[in-house]
């Protein structure tokens, strides 16, 4: 069992007998009333999305899952494909509900997969990841006010708003949870 307030993205829950993956989680505490957790969940049996709001001190049943390291091969329209580099066993993770993760998988990189009843259901991403800028437009002259940013495209296809000084080929630390620029990696 897990307290609703302790649920984070990527946790698997058993609700009404079905396994659900938490794809979004927001803590709501009005201060003037009890706290709630707003969840967006993906049903692992049929891929359907469910939204739930639960009191933060209530408990919910967790689904038993295991983790396995595997190398990312490619993604097609429906699934991410991985391979265990030692056993050559292949896994596919359905993309539905995990569309954002397309922006953070790189061919040949190793990721932790979440396995439920023999089925790979989710990819664990590090909170922050270094990605290389594939395309950064030149900043417009004179646009130097504080906070000015420009959209740059990363090697995975992700577009982030970055400061004007960022150039193609720079390596940037990106928050995988929000898709936001954190800093330029210089070392």
């Amino acid at each position: 069992m897990i307290r609703a307030g302790a649920i984070s993205k990527g946790v698997c829950l058993l609700m009404k007998g079905d396994p659900y993956l938490v794809t979004e989680r927001e803590f709501v505490n009005p201060g003037k009333g009890q706290a709630f957790v707003r969840l967006k969940l993906k049903n692992l049996k049929n891929g359907q999305t469910l939204r739930e709001t639960i009191k933060s001190h209530e408990t919910v049943e967790e689904a038993e899952v295991e983790e396995r390291s595997a190398q990312f091969l490619y993604a097609d329209g429906e699934s991410f494909h991985f391979m265990d580099a030692e056993t050559y066993e292949q896994f596919s993770v359905p993309i539905a509900g995990l569309e954002d993760k397309t922006n953070y998988v790189r061919e040949g990189d190793t990721y932790e997969l979440v396995i439920w009843q023999g089925q790979a259901i989710d990819i664990k991403l590090p909170l922050k990841m270094t990605l290389t800028v594939e395309d950064a437009p030149e900043a417009l002259r004179g646009d130097t006010v504080s906070g000015a940013t420009k959209p740059v495209v990363m090697e995975t296809g992700l577009t982030v708003k970055a400061p004007l000084f960022i150039k193609t080929g720079d390596r940037l630390l990106i928050n995988t949870d929000t898709g936001e620029y954190v800093e330029r990696v210089t070392s």
Binding site: G5, A6, R25, E26, F27, V28, N29, P30, G31, K32, G33, Q34, A35, F36, V37, R38, R51, E52, T53, K55, S56, V145, S146, G147, A148, T149, K161, P163, N175, D177, T178, E180, Y181, V182, E183
Partner: protein
């Protein structure tokens, strides 16, 4: 936090002070460390102790303030006029997340001789003032938020919002207030699944969190007014007997500010404090030393309106940064993870 946001934060602090100074407010910086608080049922505190240097047996329990209201209410009660505080507040046992950090910055402002609608207009003017700053304006333009924040605010009562966005009647008939089962039934008929046997305030908060907040428009500031009287807060009752004179401001879908036409009757404040203490006991929350002075703090004052605004969240809205950790120095969950 990026360098751009560090600069924007400094500019927001400066323009905030400037706005309130221009409006005749006095800035006060009351203690963050206090021996007593206004106990609230759903707020947990950070506790610490003052140790007497010469007598080890003498220890005084102290709290980090969850809000400066414990000091500001007695102040505005005695000096009148207009005061504001811009400083840090602390709340324990909240899940750290997109909109929450245990330490955060709050702008709290009180004005005597006005009501909550006057403070609503002042708050809307404050938002417009901030956007006139070239740097903050550019930041908001860049994040696509300039038009949203500058737009004429949408002002509606909570009951109107329930009707308009959820198709649910909040009150049915004049004596309906407090009938939780009838409200739960109306929610179920609209496809919501409220918690079983919930009491009225819990049911209301559930509908707010699960359905109304996500349904509020995000293309303009939204002020929700006239909260149900069943939500027990230190705001005066409205003339209709079933609402309280309170508003909340939502900006870009985030709850930003909360305002009361402050309760001044010592008897009603006492009733509120007793209710909160009882609720805390029921919840198993630790006992806290209640500031008894708050009971008479506004006794005899004709009217005072007070608002509290989440400064970090406001910066999130202006900059388009989607998490609080992106707009504050050393967010706590980052430092906890490093340990």
């Amino acid at each position: 936090m990026t360098q751009e946001i560090i600069r924007a934060r400094a500019q927001l602090l400066r323009r905030t002070r400037e706005f309130f100074f221009n409006e005749g407010y006095i800035e006060v910086d009351t203690p963050l460390l206090v021996p007593e608080v206004i106990p609230e049922a759903h707020i947990d505190l950070f506790e610490t102790c003052y140790d007497d240097p010469y007598d080890e047996s003498l220890r005084t329990k102290l709290y980090l303030i969850p809000s400066p209201e414990v000091s500001l209410k007695p102040l505005i009660g005695t000096m009148g006029g207009r005061i504001f505080q811009l400083g840090h507040c602390f709340r324990n046992r909240e899940s750290i997340g997109t909109h929450h950090n245990p330490e955060f910055t709050m702008l709290e402002y009180y004005e005597s001789g006005v009501d909550e609608h006057d403070l609503l207009r002042r708050t809307a003017a404050y938002l417009r003032y901030l956007l006139r700053d070239p740097n903050l304006g550019a930041l908001a333009r860049n994040s696509g938020r300039l038009e949203v924040i500058a737009r004429e605010p949408l002002v509606m009562t909570v009951a109107e919002a329930f009707e308009r966005f959820l198709g649910i009647e909040l009150f049915q008939g004049p004596d309906d207030e407090g009938n939780a089962e009838a409200l739960a039934e109306r929610c179920r008929s609209r496809g919501l699944s409220p918690p079983e046997e919930a009491e009225w305030p819990e049911l209301f908060n559930y509908v707010m969190a699960s359905s109304l907040e996500p349904a509020l428009p995000r293309d303009a500031p939204v002020f929700l007014t006239d909260y149900p009287v069943g939500c027990h807060v230190l705001a005066r009752r409205g003339g209709d007997g079933r609402t309280r004179r309170r508003w909340e401001l939502y900006l870009c879908g985030i709850e930003i500010a909360n305002c009361f036409l402050e309760e001044t009757s010592p008897e009603n404040v006492r009733r509120f404090l007793d209710r909160q203490a009882e609720e805390r006991r029921r919840r198993g929350a630790s006992e806290v030393r209640s500031a008894e002075s708050i009971e008479n703090a506004l006794d005899g004052v004709s009217s005072v309106a007070g608002a509290a605004l989440g400064f970090d969240r406001l910066l999130m809205c202006i900059s388009g940064v989607s998490t609080i950790e992106g707009v504050i120095f050393s967010p706590l969950h980052d430092s906890l993870r490093r340990r």
